[in-house]
Symmetry: C2
């Protein structure tokens, strides 16, 4: 054989160079194998898959390390909402070409997040595409046997609780796209950066997974818009909800844009990319969640109540009047 | 709320219509949840992820049911080579638009294969893309604890065994692309269809998973080219191999193209998409594999021997002379 054959192919070299250093879990076999092994003794594994596409879920000139983190974090957010502790993930990466500086930053961000969230890379596939970059992650996590928190299970009287703040990420995207919110924030670079950061870098609430598992009757991560995701939870649970719009938690930047008319409640509640946990909690367990959230440094807000009935949730303004939202959530199609 | 809000979004409707009927496993919760649950008691789970991209791994006008089957089967092939029994999969589907007839055929093919291979769909994500369609599958399978078959483990003296036939799929692609093989087969539509079928529809050797687990010291699925995949197995095992090119199993159609000079051994051994199992077996266990293969109706062929040493495998012609292959396998980059 020629010496040339000893040079690994571009794909192997790319994997060896960028991803092998991340695959330190024993079950990943240093990415020297085709598949990863999941030891599961005495617990359930929750598995989730979510993909992000260039120009759809992130912008082409977003920093590559935040693109990698976002690809992983959107999955971690689902695990958190299900009450699962992250355990590992596999990655499919479709690339147009090999841009070493992009890949290096991508892999570094991915590795840092894998360590920070205790969610090791166990395998993957790298393919070429003539189209936009696409990153698909399948992640799984552990829950005690039978303790996964579902979309279904919400009961009339349960309080509707949401972590963090809502609407920042979709406003961050609006800023990056030069929409009206951008002009309104021209004089406030700190607010701009905060909103853009919320778009580029979700903050999945994995610190609250155990608390959600302990107290929530139903749970979902808010990824496509609070109103639409709540509607899904209600439909799965066979109930509906009464939500007070004024109670939906917003950051000071978002509140200021709302006050100035540079955005509206419909955009806030139907915008995507919040990656907060929306869960339903019996009234007498609300305090347990709030206290755990306080310990974790994450806000958690009571925005309304589950009620018997069918149909999409009802939203009311500060005066108790019904508000009709024309749009509930982002949809790809 | 307006009645319009009760109409599910395009994405939900697409999932409900096409994929919910497939998700009959209890752990899929009828796709009403964000994540799937894997019960694992007393066994190891092997997890694998592989994606296929339109125009890269399949042709835009391939029948949609074969595209779906291929997306799943390329993953099943990895599980078979690892000695694992298929247990479930999740799917990420990136689409430019919603073409109902395409999706319907895609979902039907996927559902039929999921049933045929005992590998239920447990969840997924559907996203839009401005680029080519991409289908990413993460599949997992069960092996008894500690019994996953690795790429490493081959020992000097082990026989190198391969299932089925090699080279058909890459010739099928050549036919579809109108390359020289197409002209050579103009008068033989049966051979054309067979080769095209091998490209579009891999035949993963899951029937042999248990036998591979019982007798193989190392194993890999042949997806990027026999020569390159064998080189990977040898490198991982710290050995090399002596392969007799004339023993590499070919179909009558491929043998005829070879005889007529319409293809060559380099194209056969470095072409991708075979999805056969390449494994190493101690000499005294060879018979056990051959007998099990006979029962499963799958050919298995001894093509050479593992030898001590380093570097890429050595290939010899029928006269025992060394043959240098310029190219070992397909690489995306």
């Amino acid at each position: 054989m020629s010496d040339r054959s000893d040079i690994p192919s571009g794909e192997d070299s790319l994997i060896a160079r960028y991803f092998k250093p991340l695959a330190t879990d024993l079950g990943a076999f240093g990415l020297r194998d085709d598949a990863a092994l999941i030891k599961a003794d005495g617990h359930d594994l929750v598995i989730n898959t979510d993909a992000i596409v260039e120009g759809v879920h992130y912008l082409p000139d977003d920093p590559p390390d935040t693109i990698a983190r976002k690809a992983l974090r959107v999955n971690l957010s689902d695990l958190a909402a299900k009450g699962a502790e992250p355990a590992g993930f596999v990655l499919t990466l479709a690339l147009r070409d090999v841009d070493e500086s992009w890949l290096s930053a991508f892999a570094q961000g991915l590795g840092e997040d894998a360590r920070a969230f205790g969610c090791p890379l166990l395998g993957g596939d790298t393919v070429s595409t003539p189209g936009p970059v696409m990153i698909s992650v399948t992640a799984w996590g552990r829950v005690p046997v039978g303790r996964m928190v579902h979309r279904f299970g919400a009961r009339p009287g349960d309080r509707v609780m949401v972590t963090g703040t809502i609407g920042d990420a979709s406003l961050g995207l609006a800023v990056l796209q030069g929409k009206p919110a951008a002009a309104a924030l021209a004089a406030d670079p700190t607010a701009r950066e905060m909103l853009i950061g919320r778009y580029r870098l979700p903050q999945p609430r994995n610190a609250l997974a155990a608390a959600v598992r302990d107290v929530a009757t139903a749970s979902i991560d808010v990824s496509d818009g609070l109103a639409g995701d709540l509607a899904k939870l209600c439909a799965a649970s066979g109930v509906t909800a009464d939500i007070e719009l004024a109670k939906i938690p917003t950051s000071p930047a978002t509140a200021s844009l709302l006050a100035r008319g540079a955005t509206d409640l419909e955009a806030i509640t139907s915008g995507g990319d919040d990656f907060e946990i929306l869960c339903t909690v019996p009234d007498d367990r609300r305090k347990a969640l709030t206290e755990e959230a306080l310990r974790a440094g994450v806000a958690v807000t009571d925005i309304g109540v589950i009620v018997a009935g069918e149909g999409v949730p009802r939203f009311r303004d500060a005066q108790g009047r019904a508000v009709t939202l024309k749009r509930l959530s982002f949809s790809h199609f």
